[in-house]
Structure formats: structure tokens, C-alpha cells
């Protein structure tokens, strides 16, 4: 008798077990739904950002139309707003910063993967990445009080003297050395995007199969030739992705630029002149903006920035995904 009751649990026990299984299934379904909802929330946030910026900037867009993009004047008194000067400042500072940061960033990555003694590799890599962790306001205060005076007394006079009789360059590097302005902002942005470019370039350099490099070394190539002819061609897409990611950062960077750009709503030929960027304009003027149209114009600037950075970052991610897929396979 006892053996039968062991093999066949009582009806009550089976019901209890069934109830437990049902309870487990229910909790599992709830947990699954919660995780799924959170994942969808990430999409909703980005959608919400796009919609809210669109709604907020509607008034400015319907008032000014396309001319908002092509007008330079920014006059809160007469309520005439155009985004050309901030767009120009944003694009120029980001472009120059990338021009400075890309060679240095790739250089550091080559140093870390090819030259650096193994024990130093990790500490130096971490130190460069710590640069990425420093908040942008720190770069701003450092830029304003330490770097800008140095630019004013050393770098700007040097460039003015160097190029004063070269036709095009003399107008690029002209005007009184204020210290603050487009070039100073670009240089600080370059320091800020450097770690992003370096760490991504280093990561993609590490994906190069050792056998490719070894065969190049085996036929007698120098380190530079291996880097130039094997490593860089192999990782081109990944490097471009890293550069685009840095560009996205540089375009949207706010606080550091706000400190040193000079906040002048005009387009000057000289890189020494003060200017403004989209994010600096919003940071400086948003809380002081009186009037719906003024606020709406600032939000329209935000929408422009959002669209530009979204496109750049989407391209960057697409490129990095391609290299991930290749190494993942």
C-alpha cells in the first residue's frame, strides 16, 4: 500500500502542484511583460523627444518657415529669429575639433596597440578614458580660466604672425586675439572627443586577426607599413564609425562650449572671432527667453540639433554594427 501512495501522489498534492505551476506561469508572464514594457519605453522616450521638440517649435516654424534656416539675424527685441549663425558655429567647431582629434586619437590607438609596453597598456588606456569621464562643465571652467588666456597670449598671436601675408589663411586667422571664440571652442571639443575616438579605434584595431599582421611582418614590413597597409584598411569602417560618434558628441556638446564660444550671433570669417553654437544659444538664453516666439525659436534650434545628431549617430552606429557583425561571425 505504502509503495502505491508514494508513486501516486494524492489528489490534493497534485492540485497544489498544478496551482504552483500556474502561479509560476503567471509571475513569469508578468515579469516578461514588465521587461518588454521597459524596452518599449526606451523607444517611447526617443519618440517623445522628437514629438515634444516638434510641437514646441511649431510656432517658430510656422512663423519663419524655411527662412529660419537661412537667416543670420537673431533679434529678441524685434522677434526676428534665424538659425544660420548657430548652425554655422556648430558645424565649424565640430568639424575643426574632429580634424584635430582624429590624427591624435588614431595615433594614441596605434601607440597603445603596437608600441606601448604591455604593463603600461592598461593604465594609459584607462587614463585616456578618464578624459571621457570628466564632466563637460569642468572642461568649460578650465577652458575659460586657464586655456583661453593661454590661447590669447600664445596661440593666437603665433597664428596671426604666421599667416599674416598668406591670402586665404590671413582672413581665417585674423582679428584681435580675444582668447575665447570658435578656435578655442574647437580645441576644447577636440580634447573632449579624443577619448571616444581613441577607445573605439583601439577596440577595432584589436579585432584585426593576428595572422594578417604576422604575415605582413613576415614579408618584412615595418610597424608603420603594417598599420598603414593592413590594420587601417581592415578597420576602416570601424574607425569611421568612431569618428562619426565623436562628431555626434562634438555637435551636441553644450557646457564646455558655452563658456568659451563668446555667444555672438554672427558669422565671421575669422576663427578667432566669438560665435555661438546651437547648444550654447539654448543654454544661455532659454531661461531668459520671454515671449512664446522666442522660446519656440530656441526649441526649433533644439530640433535642428536633434535631427543633425540623430542622423550622424545613426550612421555611426550602422558602421559600428557592420564591423561587429564581421567579427561576431
Amino acid at each position: 500500500m505504502t509503495t502505491v501512495s508514494e508513486a501516486m501522489p494524492s489528489l490534493a498534492a497534485m492540485q497544489a502542484r498544478e496551482a504552483t505551476v500556474r502561479r509560476f506561469a503567471l509571475t513569469d508572464a508578468i515579469f516578461r511583460a514588465a521587461t518588454r514594457f521597459s524596452a518599449i519605453l526606451v523607444l517611447l522616450i526617443l519618440g517623445g523627444v522628437a514629438i515634444s521638440l516638434f510641437v514646441g517649435s511649431w510656432q517658430a516654424m510656422s512663423t519663419f518657415g524655411v527662412s529660419f534656416l537661412t537667416t543670420e539675424s537673431w533679434n529678441p527685441v524685434t522677434e526676428k529669429f534665424g538659425a544660420l549663425a548657430p548652425i554655422y558655429g556648430t558645424v565649424v567647431t565640430a568639424a575643426i575639433s574632429i580634424l584635430i582629434a582624429v590624427p591624435i586619437g588614431i595615433g594614441i590607438a596605434i601607440f597603445l596597440t603596437e608600441l606601448c609596453p604591455r604593463p603600461l597598456r592598461r593604465p594609459i588606456g584607462i587614463a585616456v578614458e578618464l578624459l571621457a569621464g570628466i564632466p563637460s562643465i569642468i572642461y568649460g571652467i578650465w577652458g575659460l580660466f586657464i586655456f583661453a588666456p593661454f590661447v590669447q597670449t600664445t596661440i593666437q598671436p603665433f597664428f596671426i604672425n604666421l599667416f599674416h601675408d598668406v591670402p586665404v589663411l590671413s582672413s581665417l586667422f585674423a582679428g584681435p586675439p580675444y582668447g575665447i571664440g570658435l578656435l578655442t571652442s574647437s580645441m576644447i571639443l577636440a580634447i573632449m572627443v579624443l577619448p571616444f575616438i581613441t577607445s573605439i579605434t583601439k577596440d577595432v584595431f584589436d579585432t584585426v586577426p593576428a595572422v594578417l599582421k604576422e604575415s605582413a611582418y613576415g614579408i618584412g614590413c615595418t610597424t608603420w607599413e603594417v598599420t598603414r597597409r593592413v590594420v587601417i584598411p581592415y578597420t576602416r569602417v570601424g574607425i569611421m564609425g568612431g569618428v562619426m560618434l565623436g562628431l555626434g558628441r562634438a555637435l551636441g556638446e553644450t557646457m564646455a562650449v558655452t563658456f568659451v564660444i563668446g555667444n555672438a550671433h554672427r558669422i565671421s570669417a575669422s576663427l578667432f572671432a566669438p560665435g555661438t553654437t546651437i547648444s550654447a544659444t539654448i543654454a544661455n538664453e532659454f531661461t531668459e527667453a520671454d515671449g512664446e516666439l522666442y522660446t519656440s525659436s530656441l526649441i526649433a534650434l533644439g530640433l535642428i540639433l536633434f535631427v543633425i545628431t540623430f542622423l550622424i549617430l545613426a550612421i555611426a552606429r550602422y558602421m559600428l554594427m557592420r564591423i561587429d557583425r564581421r567579427t561576431g561571425a
Binding site: D28, F31, R32, T35, S38, A39, L41, V42, L43, I45, G48, V49, S52, L53, P103, G105, G107, I108, I110, F111, E114, C116, I124, A127, L130, G133, I134, P135, S136, I137, I138, Y139, I141, W142, L144, F145, I191, L194, P195, T222, W224, E225, L245, L251, G252, E253, T254, M255, T258, S279, I282, A283, F286, T287, G302, L305, T309, F310, A314, R317
Partner: protein
């Protein structure tokens, strides 16, 4: 023969030139970090005293501290982490566990990576439209929400990555003894990935503790002590921004000291976070 040796010499020269340039590049990177930290220590330490942590932000031209700003930063950071972390961890869980191969995961990963590097001032504008405008006033709550939105993508990313590193054999062992999926995730996957998930949370705190742009028009600023979440609240970064651009020497000094406090906090957080994952990699 002579052309061969000259070619060889030229290649060697190019090589040493380029390698020297790379060395110089690394030197520039490290020198810059040293310059910034040096300036911060030099300028910031000069004003570091007990009163910084015990007194309120002063009116122009007076001595004072940063107590209300530090308090505001801590309060808003804590709320942001409490709100943002569960959402981030759950979303990361979906992507690594339930929906590892689903289309939704691919889309969320792509969008999350964009959110991760999206300009934070845009998030500020979003929260302004979402909360500040309907409520009619700036508030610490809005500031916390803006920071929480910055926490989410960091946590999502690290949670997904860390859960993906958990070996499937562990999950299968859990399933084999009859544990339902969510118990396997909770008691096996989360435990195995715990240090990585904590790293993500620490990195997100490091990221938001220095964020200024999203607070400018959500939490605004407050010259006085306030613990009301429904009112404007001071924060360390916004106070630094205001004080650094002021013409008053006492304010500028406080800005430097505040900058030093933030930087040390952020660096400490990133080093702790790194040592957590570093231990993992060594195993």
C-alpha cells in the same frame, strides 16, 4: 644595390617618424589629463575647507559654502537612479533574456545607443516641454526626471552586455531543476552578472553627477536651502556654471572648489566601476 639600401633606409625613417608621432600623440593625451587635473587641484584646493560643506551658497561678495548645491545634486541624483535603474535593468533583461533574437531588441539596441550619445541639452528641452511647461514652474522633480532619462541608456547597455556574458549552461542548469524563466533570471543570471550591472549603475551616476545642461531649465537653481521637490533646487553643476561666469572672486573660487568636488567624485566612481569589471576579466 644602393637603391635597395636607400629604399630600406627611407622605409625605416618613415617608420620611426610615424611611431614618434604616435608617441607624441599619446604624450599629448596624457599631458592634457595632467594639465586639467593639475589646474583643478591647484585652484580647487585653495578654497576647500569645512565651510564649503556646512554653509549655504553666499550672496555676491560674501563668503559661504556649497551645502545647498551639494544637497540638491545628491537628492536629484538619488531620485534619478531610483527611477532610471529599474527601467534600465528590466529593458536590458528583455534584450538579453526574453527577446534575445527578436526584432524589437535590434531596434531598441539601436535607439538606445543613439540615446546614449544624444546631446543632454535636448533631454532638458524634452523634460521642459513634458513637465515644466504643463506644471507652470521649474522643479527638482523635473530635474530628476531629466537625469533619469540619462541614466536609462547607460544601464540598459551594460545590463544587456553583462547578461549576454552569462554562460547559457548556467541558465540550462536552472531550467533543468524546474525553475521557471523569471526565477532563472532572478536567481541565476542576475547573480552571475551582478558586478557588471552595478558597474553600469555606477557609471550612470558618474555621468549624471556632472550634467549641467539638462538641469538648466528643469531644476533651474536656488540660492537658498530647499528640500521641496516641487520647487526649483540648486545643484552643484548649475551653481558652478553661474558662479564661474560671475565677476565676483568669492563665487569664482567656490566654482573651482565645486568643480574639484565633482571631478573627484566622478573619477572615484569610474575607478571603482572599472575595478569591479576588471576583477571579472582577470578571472
Amino acid at each position: 644595390m644602393s637603391t635597395a639600401t636607400s629604399l630600406h633606409r627611407r622605409r625605416k625613417t618613415t617608420n620611426s617618424l610615424m611611431m614618434t608621432l604616435c608617441l607624441v600623440a599619446a604624450g599629448i593625451g596624457l599631458a592634457w589629463l595632467a594639465l586639467i587635473l593639475g589646474a583643478l587641484l591647484y585652484k580647487g584646493l585653495a578654497g576647500l575647507s569645512v565651510s564649503v560643506f556646512t554653509e549655504m551658497t553666499p550672496p555676491p561678495g560674501d563668503a559661504g559654502g556649497l551645502l545647498n548645491a551639494i544637497y540638491g545634486s545628491v537628492v536629484m541624483t538619488v531620485i534619478a537612479v531610483i527611477v532610471g535603474t529599474p527601467i534600465g535593468v528590466l529593458a536590458g533583461t528583455y534584450m538579453a533574456e526574453y527577446g534575445r533574437f527578436s526584432r524589437l531588441t535590434t531596434i531598441v539596441r539601436f535607439i538606445n545607443d543613439i540615446l546614449l550619445s544624444a546631446p543632454s541639452i535636448i533631454i532638458g528641452l524634452f523634460v521642459y516641454e513634458l513637465l515644466v511647461r504643463p506644471m507652470g514652474h521649474f522643479s527638482a522633480l523635473a530635474g530628476s526626471v531629466a537625469l533619469a532619462i540619462l541614466v536609462i541608456p547607460v544601464v540598459v547597455r551594460t545590463t544587456e552586455d553583462m547578461l549576454n556574458l552569462v554562460p547559457n549552461a548556467l541558465r540550462e542548469a536552472g531550467t533543468a531543476i524546474g525553475a521557471p524563466r523569471w526565477v532563472v533570471i532572478k536567481s541565476v543570471a542576475y547573480r552571475a552578472a551582478l558586478s557588471g550591472i552595478v558597474t553600469g549603475i555606477l557609471l550612470s551616476i558618474a555621468r549624471i553627477s556632472g550634467e549641467t545642461a539638462p538641469l538648466l531649465f528643469t531644476a533651474l537653481n536656488n540660492q537658498f536651502w530647499s528640500s521641496n521637490l516641487n520647487a526649483p533646487m540648486a545643484s552643484l553643476p548649475v551653481t558652478i556654471f553661474q558662479f564661474a561666469l560671475s565677476p565676483y572672486e568669492e563665487w569664482q573660487q567656490l566654482a573651482w572648489t565645486g568643480a574639484l568636488i565633482i571631478t573627484l567624485t566622478v573619477l572615484a566612481l569610474s575607478i571603482v566601476a572599472r575595478s569591479l569589471t576588471g576583477r571579472r576579466e582577470d578571472k
